[in-house]
Amino acid sequence: DAGITQSPRHKVTETGTPVTLRCHQTENHRYMYWYRQDPGHGLRLIHYSYGVKDTDKGEVSDGYSVSRSKTEDFLLTLESATSSQTSVYFCAIRGTRAYEQYFGPGTRLTVT
């Protein structure tokens, strides 16, 4: 599992509330990623980080922000959750071989 944990694993929240998902890694990887997975869309990149305080947008970044204040933690925040953000969110890290990405167990988020 590449030493990746995600919390919470499941969350139900109401429209308009802020939500923060956490990704934690234990192996000091520089690159970390947040994806969302939806039926018919596969996995789509939300944001990624290439170092502490260094982040960039992916293809579906609207409505999401991220922060990385230390190497091991990458946080994804939905400032005001909407029903369209109901999804399964996966964190990933780039492994020791530059092209390989390894995924965490996922967080299922439901926005009612």
């Binding site: 996995l43 990149l45 990624y48 992916g58 780039r94 390989e100 990405q101 390894y102 167990p105 996922g106």
Partner: protein
């Protein structure tokens, strides 16, 4: 716009059969093509990957065939087993895109005993 197109959406084969999943891409800057396997409730797991300088790669019962001129690649599972029943995703990436992965929409494979 889907950068990587994957087909079929679902596939059912008998045990021992050879399911084939196909992917196509347009961006010639892509230079890394992995396949991921995902079981229900789990994260995707890297299965096998190929670079465009080779036309085929085998790892155990899994084979990737790559056609650079057609911009297509496919996954073959030899002697498929019920335990191979999972969702498979292809992806494409390039160092020029910050190692951003573009995934296909997935293929749900069922192997019948």
């Amino acid at each position: 716009q889907q950068q990587v197109k994957q087909s079929p959406q679902s596939l059912i084969v008998q045990k021992g059969g050879i399911p084939i999943i196909n992917c196509a891409y347009e961006n010639t800057a892509f230079d890394y093509f992995p396949w991921y396997q995902q079981f229900p409730g789990k994260g995707p797991a890297l299965l096998i990957a190929i670079r465009p300088d080779v036309s085929e790669k085998k790892e155990g019962r899994f084979t990737i065939s790559f056609n650079k001129s057609a911009k297509q690649f496919s996954l073959h599972i030899m002697d498929s087993q019920p335990g191979d029943s999972a969702t498979y995703f292809c992806a494409a990436s390039s160092l020029n895109t910050g190692n951003q992965f573009y995934f296909g929409t997935g293929t749900s494979l069922t192997v019948i005993p």
